[in-house]
């Protein structure tokens, strides 16, 4: 089995087939496509025939997931009817989780618990998230070792498919740049042989050390991730039929397990300048890179050049403290590793280089920009609208038992009682014995309790960080956000932070309750450059719509700007066009019913700001000499105001 003939997603699938328990699973990022179907089909074919394979619908209720009473059947039969849980059925097999980015914390928690309990199953999560922060809950990501992105561009149809007339889509999957003959997909025999060899592969301290060092350099703190990387390397060696783990296996593990999770940009081990991601979009972003960012990378290059060679070799965290949130002196590697032999050193360097080259382009950019990406941070992200469990009671509603719902006994009885005589007569007609229960219930009688869900508010600060804003203004905005966050303790609300400057808007902080993270995002808020007001409003609109659609919560957008737009939507200069774009973006906020508040930060009230506020239907608050406390008071009033 030659792994290198396959694209990364397939390599991951083969490794998973060999060691499903150690690796825990696979996160496949990318939309639905024939390639994805082909990959799943290939994986399924490679597993021994008796391996269970279950698709897990997102709306699965606990009874079905963990096993329990089948209420509908039980009521019909008049005796308890049990159903086995999906997870129990999938023991020793594969659970496929489609639309994994919509999974809620509860489902993730249960799957994680099952994976921890050693039921021998693995999970293939199909992550179709589009936005950066739209991904599966972190509790699950953590436990699925392998990560791969499926992009159609990485593959071209081969002639082999046409020649052999085979309809197996796996023939489509050889990478474009590979000259190797497209290999046939893995067979069950190969998998079983590799599994048999797995136990014979000894634990290689040098490889483990290389993987540990690489993980540390990428800012990964979880020991579970390192363990999964080791499992991947071991599986790769077993697949290749080797008795020991080689360099290539360690590199493959670094590419498939460590690189996609990178939280910090490692220094190039050979002291090279920044390696640019190999795609066109980055070139475009380089072209309009802000001067500030340029200085930044300039500074980093210098740091690279004169950084202490020892520190580099050991994969110390990046010199830029913003890239490594946990950059404290205790993270310095100890003397023990300083006397590593040169062979170990070489192995580490190559592993790190492999991981570095495999960091996905988008991630690389965000790391280079100094903003650590936080995927799937909040536990409530992507939670489907579940019935509220507490709050103000509403009228009960007829409906089937679902997770998180409670039976309203009174309403149920009320629905059932009038029909009793008829139902008894029916039973007699059907020749059934008299019922053992005092009451004949049908599934349709069930009424559920309903509550009004207490709504949580997300306050989105949209901060103008352009050159026309004095630095003191930024400080005020920061102060106000901090004060609000302190409030969130009490009110359980969330805060997000968008900044716009130079060429566009940037989400510095996705909705969070975490003070620690918010403080970090605030401290790295840069300033200077043009005022792309339209881009800022548009980004706020997108975020607001997403939050409202997904969590059903309220959103309040707070704009802190002097409304002097000078960058149009398409990135070109020109005040007139910029102002028009801003206005049209503002109207969209109004039509979508997003509540907003515009704090005019110019030194005297600006007519343009008032016009903008009216266009978006926002409350207009001029604060010529604002203090953080005043901004905070205005925002508090807006947030606690009843919805219009």
């Amino acid at each position: 089995m030659v792994l290198s003939a396959w694209p990364p997603a397939w390599q991951a699938a083969w490794l998973l087939a060999v060691d499903p328990v150690g690796l825990g699973g696979l996160v496949l990022r990318g939309g639905a496509s024939p390639f994805r179907d082909a990959l799943l089909a290939d994986l399924r074919q490679a597993l021994p025939p008796a391996t269970p394979w279950r698709r897990l619908p997102l709306n699965v209720d606990d009874e079905r997931l963990l096993g329990g009473l089948d209420l509908g059947l039980s009521l019909a039969a008049g005796r308890p009817v049990h159903q086995a849980g999906l997870l129990a059925e999938a023991a020793g097999g594969v659970v496929v989780l489609p639309m994994a980015e919509r999974a809620d914390a509860g489902l993730a928690g249960r799957l994680a618990a099952q994976l921890e309990a050693g039921a021998g199953m693995c999970v293939v999560a199909l992550d179709e998230g589009l936005a950066e922060d739209e991904t599966l809950p972190a509790a699950l990501t953590e436990r699925l070792g392998l990560m791969a992105t499926l992009t159609a561009t990485a593959m071209v149809p081969q002639e082999r498919a046409a020649a052999s007339g085979s309809t197996s889509a796996s023939a489509l999957t050889a990478p474009a740049d590979s000259t190797a003959p497209p290999a046939p997909p893995m067979t069950v025999a190969e998998v079983l042989a590799a599994r048999a060899r797995l136990a014979a592969v000894p634990c290689d301290a040098e490889v483990v050390q290389a993987l540990c060092a690489t993980a540390a350099a990428l800012g990964l703190n979880s020991m579970r991730t390192v363990w999964q990387a080791w499992c991947a390397a071991r599986a790769a060696a077993a697949l290749a039929g080797r008795e020991a783990v080689h360099q290539a296996d360690a590199e493959l593990a670094a590419r498939l397990v460590l690189a996609p999770r990178a939280r910090a940009l490692p220094q190039a081990a050979d002291g090279d300048a920044q390696q640019t991601p190999p795609d066109a979009s980055s070139a475009a972003s380089d072209a309009n890179e802000s001067p500030e960012k340029e200085q930044d990378s300039e500074r980093r290059r210098e740091a690279d050049a004169d950084a202490d060679a020892d520190a580099k070799a050991e994969g110390a965290p990046d010199a830029d403290p913003r890239n490594d949130p946990r950059n404290d002196p205790r993270n310095e590697p100890s003397d023990a590793s300083r006397h590593a032999e040169t062979s170990v050193q070489a192995l580490q360097d190559q592993t790190l280089a492999a991981a570095r080259a495999a960091i996905p382009p988008g991630l690389l950019e965000s790391l280079a920009g100094g903003v650590p990406r936080t995927g799937g941070g909040s536990g409530r992200k992507g939670a489907p609208a579940r019935p509220a469990q507490s709050g103000r009671p509403l009228t009960p509603r007829r409906g089937p038992m679902r997770r998180g719902s409670r039976i309203d006994l009174l309403a149920t009885l009320r629905a059932a009682v009038p029909w009793q005589r008829l139902r008894e007569a029916e039973r007699a007609q059907q020749g059934l014995p008299p019922a053992t229960t005092a009451l004949l219930l049908r599934r349709d009688d069930l009424h559920l309790k309903r509550f009004r869900r207490p709504q949580e508010t997300t306050t989105v600060f949209v901060v103008d960080a352009s050159g026309s804003q004095a630095m003191s203004r930024l400080a005020e905005a920061k102060g106000a956000v901090e004060l609000l966050l302190a409030d969130c303790y009490v009110r359980r609300d969330r805060v997000a932070l968008l900044a716009f400057r130079g060429a566009g808007a940037e989400l510095l902080l996705s909705p969070t309750r975490s003070l620690a993270r918010a403080r970090r995002a605030l401290s790295s808020l840069p300033g200077g450059g043009g005022t792309p007001l339209a881009a800022g409003i548009e980004a706020a609109w997108l975020l607001g719509c997403r939050v409202q659609a997904r969590e059903g919560g309220r959103v309040v957008l707070v704009f802190l700007t002097d409304a002097r737009a000078n960058i149009a939507r398409d990135g070109s200069g020109g005040r007139l066009q910029a102002a028009q774009d801003a206005l049209s973006a503002a109207r969209r906020l109004r039509t979508d019913g997003l509540r907003s508040l515009l704090i005019d930060t110019s030194s005297r009230p600006e007519p343009a700001a008032l016009v903008l506020a009216q266009a978006m239907g926002a409350r207009y608050v001029p604060l010529p000499h604002g203090q953080a406390a005043q901004v905070y008071a205005a925002v508090s009033a807006a947030v606690s105001a009843p919805a219009v």
Binding site: Q209, C212, M223, S378, A516
Partner: protein, 342 residues
Amino acid sequence: MSTPYPFSALVGQDEMKRAILIAAVEPAIGGLLVLGDRGTGKSTAVRALAALLPKMRAVQGCRYHCDPDASTAAAACEDCARLKSGTRIKTDLLPVPVVDLPLGASEDRVLGALDLERALSQGVKVFEPGLLAKAHRGFLYIDEVNLLEDHLVDLLIDVAASGENLIEREGLSLRHPARFVLIGSGNPEEGELRPQLQDRFGLSVEVRTPSDIGQRVEVVRRRDAYERDPAAFHAQWAKADARVRRQILQARERLTGLTVGDDVLHRAAELCVAVQSDGLRGELTLMRAARALAALEGDAAVTLDHLREVAVPALRHRLRRNPLDDTASGERIERAVTELWC
């Protein structure tokens, strides 16, 4: 897992291990909060604890596995009241429960609810105990406690404070004892914990991945050895685990004989005033934790050194947070300790 990972085989994480032992010796400490990144061995340690603890005696046939030696006061649950009224009760030896409370668990599963099965088949109204009943006299472990739904948090606070679970729903009306040590773990990066809940926990420890590459390699190597042959690995660490088990048992016996002197109490109060910790809970926890530590270490009296050891974990989460002050609470406490007691 048939054989959980041995407690003694955990690499590093001494602060967490010591806090777990203190909670095992002195359940009155009020639980333990473990904060830190994922993959730092939090769950592993808690699951290892279950295998480590000596078994407990429980009333046979009681759904809440009550203690047979407990006074037959009003606190007795309905099962025990029924059993004890008749003949002599039989007892079982059971492992101390360590119950997982999964995120997104429904209220019914936590509190217990009407036993639908019995209601359907026999038409009787019987209470089916939930996770709180399972955890009675043991540990209730909540991974990612900071992501727990609010209404569940309220329930837990209520039950943990009163030591009994009160059911008033679906026509059921009953109470049963639910005294457990709450162990919560979470990552503050992903959402803050409500201060009301934070304050309920006795001790709070922060865990980090070992920063030393050598230690990290050791973690993977031990894990590898364990996965290859759990039984052999277990046998290898059985001695060390038995030592810890003995230490817990002896400490529990010694605990009753240890008194905390007035001077030490005075010192504890001094520290709590200095760091402005909220409420009296801080002093109590300091005192109890210091006493449990002294018992664990086999010392004859509680001294200032014991206080110093437990000051940070006992008070770290009780300081009033100032959102504009970046200093970690742990550092503030350490500063106060050096100023006061050195």
